[in-house]
């Protein structure tokens, strides 16, 4: 190796390290000015050590040259895209001590490959993009998760103070956001990396603080925790999704986060209660008519079952092709314990006979199993006045009539009146609209709907005649359809 070549190598090997101290950790202007100067002096990235206040990197380079090289007079002005500068402004705020170095190396490379910045597959570009994303996320999370606590200053003014621990050097960057949002409020943000104080007009910076400098509580926090616990839907626990957006590291300064473990632990129990409240527990579906009869006598799942009355079971042969469903037992039925034996039942019998339907071959029952009434004292003594069951009560009692239907398996169900129709269909229909046609039921059988005979009893004159005619027509249609179904 020739002597001059050896000289050149020695120069490179022992060449100067430039140590570049920055005034602040988020000192973008300082970094930019020094970087420009180093570029113009042709100082390669691995010869430059960047240091920041409080950083440990400084000690390693105590031998480095703090005097920066003077660029030659004819050195060209470095050029760089706006896009790189925008990324650099954000990346400077990152807490990684390497950031200055990677930025300078990228800047160096951009001088010969200006469009490198567009190459998302390049290692440096990716690293910068990742750092910028982490910083933006921290900025955003500070705006989101910082919590103020109210105190009173000596002059009686409300003063809102927050303690927050950012992961990057974002405090100063975020000041504008809090000023714009809380312009007319006195507030302070305390962090381990410095503090901000706003009095409604002027923003001041303060020294780094500790948690002990901040207030420990606020009366509104109880309300906020109450809100947090109530707005959460225990039926859809998605802890992963929560942790992704609100990692545990932020929890310690958020008043609501301390409730998370108990909310999660209690969620399944709460959901079970929610479902339970909706699903009145009817137990196992009974498999025999005898079992149903036994069960309805004990049933008090709606208030009707708690009145002074007796459950009335349906009657008729198992396997009957026709099931006739009424509304609920009346006074007579309740006393005798049999369906359709009172005035309405007698009227029904007359019309069934007219239509050629033998009641003995049908299974006759009610939607609601107990008699709902109010006791009233009249001149003729104490009387029990019929009350229509409410939709909710019908919906609860559906269980029993559906159980009967599952055992009897009729080919055709005739519902008398709106309550019976609701009991079979689960929704309220108008008799006028629903009568005269078959409504398919889920097991392949069909439902026909007509008026309740007690409705006919309440009418007189022409109206009664008209309704009787319609009633007879409905029964005749049922009889015809029934013979088609049983012949098939």
């Amino acid at each position: 190796m020739s002597a001059p070549a050896q000289d050149r190598l020695a120069h490179v090997k022992l060449g100067t390290y430039y140590v570049v101290p920055l005034a602040e950790s988020d000192d973008f202007e300082g970094w930019r000015d020094q970087a420009r100067r180093l570029l113009m002096a042709d100082a390669p990235p691995d010869r430059v050590a960047w240091t920041e206040p409080g950083g440990s990197a400084g000690d390693l380079f105590t031998h480095g040259d703090r005097r920066l090289p003077t660029p030659p007079d004819d050195a060209p002005q470095p050029r760089v895209s706006r896009r790189f500068m925008d990324i650099a402004k954000t990346v400077i705020l990152h807490s990684d001590p390497e950031r200055f170095f990677i930025l300078y190396r990228t800047l160096w490379r951009l001088q010969t490959r200006p469009r490198l910045i567009e190459d998302a597959a390049d290692g440096d570009i990716r690293k910068l993009a990742d750092m910028a994303r982490a910083v933006r996320r921290d900025i955003h999370k500070m705006r989101a998760f910082l919590r103020f606590r109210e105190t009173k200053d000596e002059d009686g003014t409300e003063h809102y103070i927050a303690w927050f621990e950012p992961f990057h050097h974002i405090l100063r960057h975020n000041a504008g956001f809090f000023v714009r949002r809380f312009a007319n409020m006195r507030w302070s943000i305390l962090t381990p990396r410095g503090a901000l104080h706003w009095d409604g007009e002027v923003l001041r910076e303060g020294p780094s603080a500790t948690r002990a400098d901040a207030p420990t509580g606020d009366d509104a926090e109880e309300l906020w925790r109450g809100y947090y616990a109530s707005i959460f839907n225990p039926a859809r626990l998605k802890i992963g999704a929560m942790m992704k957006e609100m990692p545990r590291k932020y929890w310690k300064n958020m008043p609501e986060a301390q409730m998370i473990p108990e909310l999660v632990a209690g969620a399944q129990a709460r959901e079970a209660t929610m479902v339970k409240a909706g699903e009145i527990d009817m137990g196992e579906r009974p498999e025999t008519l005898v079992a149903i009869e036994k069960a309805i006598h004990a049933c008090a799942r709606c208030p009707i079952g708690e009145l002074d009355n007796t459950a009335v079971m349906g009657e008729g042969p198992r396997g009957a092709p026709l099931m006739i469903v009424g509304e609920q037992p009346g006074d007579q039925e309740d006393r005798q314990g049999r369906p359709f034996v009172g005035p309405a039942g007698q009227l029904l019998d007359v019309h069934l006979e007219k239509a050629g339907i033998d009641r003995a071959t049908a299974y006759v029952t009610n939607t609601v199993k107990h008699f709902k009434f109010t006791a009233k004292t009249t001149q003729r003594g104490k009387r029990r006045i019929h009350q229509s069951p409410k939709a909710k009560e019908i919906d609860i009692c559906r269980w029993w009539v559906e159980s009967e239907r599952a055992i009897v398996r009729p080919k055709l169900v005739l519902a008398l009146g709106a309550s019976a129709a609701r009991g079979m269909l689960g929704k309220t229909v108008s008799i006028t609209k629903a009568r005269g046609v078959a409504h398919p039921l889920d097991d392949g059988s069909e439902l026909w709907v007509t008026a309740h005979p007690s409705y006919l009893l309440r009418l007189d004159g022409a109206a009664r005649e008209e309704q009787q005619r319609l009633f007879d027509a409905d029964l005749a249609a049922v009889a015809k359809r029934l013979s088609e179904l049983t012949d098939a």
Binding site: R115, Y160, R181, F182, Y228, S230, F232, R236, K427
Partner: protein
């Protein structure tokens, strides 16, 4: 009647509001509290101030004015015939609570809805009054979302738009038949009419502000709506079709899907079982496909099965790609943005990066791997400088290769 303490009422009325899926606070006009008397700012992007264990963002104070209601909608916890505990706030209380929470940086603003008390007009007046107190008395410049009641007087609804950033009217159920059956007091025509009026009011206000600088703002964050999924028999195709027609006709910003969840004191007409939560997720994915990926509703429909339901085990984009394999593989170095967006596993961001990076190099599979999360999913549908899927794209068991059956995973989602 003695009022319960405010904490108890807040719990009841927040609990009652949790079935509303939306908590968004983004997309409104930019403003802040400098030069005013009060507090509040909006800077385009909304902020989620907390996340609940159900994974949902808490951005707004979302409460009902009252959960008393004269309507009897089967799917709703607050319906007349339900036995839930009732409570109410005054407009002043709602405004004060909003300010107290906002000052402590808990929220971005208010999302106020209500059960119907006395009449639709009266209820709507109450909602508007709370917004008026916030805007006029507190000079509050944060976000306000008002749920509007389609049955109320259009004049009152119009005032809601003057105070609120966003207004919403729920279509409730994807089909009119479902609405008739489960919400007997509501009327599809009325809901549609109110959305239409709101849509044209918004368009007019935008137009007026372009011409007159001081024209009043009107719901600058637009209108949105919500559909309940799984309470009636509507298929995913029904829902997607309905959604696209709503986006088209009423200039909606967002449609929210809320998987019907079992509610206390549920009506017997409803299924007791909730639909899988993943179904709601798939619907959102299909919504995204239509809004950001250039899919038509018909194409989303093609991804669904014969029963009109989107597959639950794979996302709709992958389902579409598996059905239309003749469109693939796509050359990552030459294909158009439109085609790249159809590649399963490539999102809008990855496609943007690919388009930019490929001007500098012929992309290899490794390069693509750096821009996407799931190379397994991408591989069969892409050609790169060093990669050609050859027979892989046409393999009959491709679905199993990319998305091995994972019963556990579905369960985790549902948990």
């Amino acid at each position: 009647m003695a009022q319960k303490p405010i904490l108890d009422r807040l719990k009841i009325l927040a609990d009652a509001a949790k079935y509303d899926a939306s908590c968004a606070s983004s997309g409104t006009s930019k403003r802040d509290s400098r030069g005013g008397k009060g507090i509040g700012s909006t800077e385009g992007m909304g902020i989620c101030h907390a996340y609940a264990p159900d994974g949902r963002c808490i951005s707004l104070l979302k409460v009902l004015m009252t959960n008393h209601c004269i309507f009897d909608c089967h799917y709703c916890i607050n319906r007349k015939s339900s036995n839930v505990e009732r409570a109410r706030f005054t407009p002043q209380e709602v405004a004060d609570l909003t300010i107290a929470f906002y000052k402590r940086n808990y929220i971005e603003g208010l999302f106020l809805s209500s059960g119907i008390v006395k009449s639709s007009d009266h209820t709507m007046e109450q909602l508007v009054e709370a917004a008026r107190i916030l805007r006029e008395e507190h000079d509050f410049r944060g976000y306000i979302h008002l749920k509007t009641i389609p049955e109320a007087d259009p004049e009152i609804i119009h005032r809601a738009g003057l105070y609120a950033d966003r207004v919403s009217i729920n279509v409730e159920l994807p089909t009119d038949a479902g609405l008739n059956r489960l919400a007997p007091d509501k009327n599809a025509g009325q809901i549609d009419g109110a959305m239409g009026r709101m849509g044209s009011d918004i368009t007019e206000a935008v137009d007026a502000r372009k011409r007159f600088r001081h024209a009043p703002r009107f719901a600058p964050a637009g209108q949105s709506t919500q559909m309940i999924v799984g309470a009636d028999g509507a298929s995913d195709t029904d829902i997607v079709t309905r959604a696209s027609s709503l986006y088209g006709r009423h200039a909606l910003r967002r449609i929210y899907y809320s998987a019907f969840s079992p509610i206390p004191d549920a009506s017997a007409v409803l299924p007791l079982k909730r639909p899988p939560l993943i179904r709601e997720h798939r619907l959102y994915q299909s919504d995204w496909l239509m809004r950001f990926y250039g899919y038509s509703p018909q194409e989303v429909g093609q991804a669904a099965g014969a029963d009109g339901m989107l597959p639950l085990d794979i996302d709709p984009k992958l389902a579409w790609a598996l059905k239309f394999r003749e469109e693939f593989p796509v050359d990552v170095n030459r294909a158009s943005r439109e085609m790249l967006l159809r590649v399963p596993g490539l999102g809008t961001r990855a496609v943007g990066q690919i388009l930019s990076a490929r001007r500098h190099r012929r992309l290899r599979l490794d390069d693509v791997a750096k821009m996407t999360v799931s190379l397994t999913k991408v591989r069969p549908f892409l050609v790169a400088a060093d990669w050609r899927p050859t027979l892989l794209t046409d393999r009959a068991d491709l679905k199993t290769l990319i998305a091995p059956p994972q019963d556990r995973q579905l369960e985790l989602f549902a948990a």
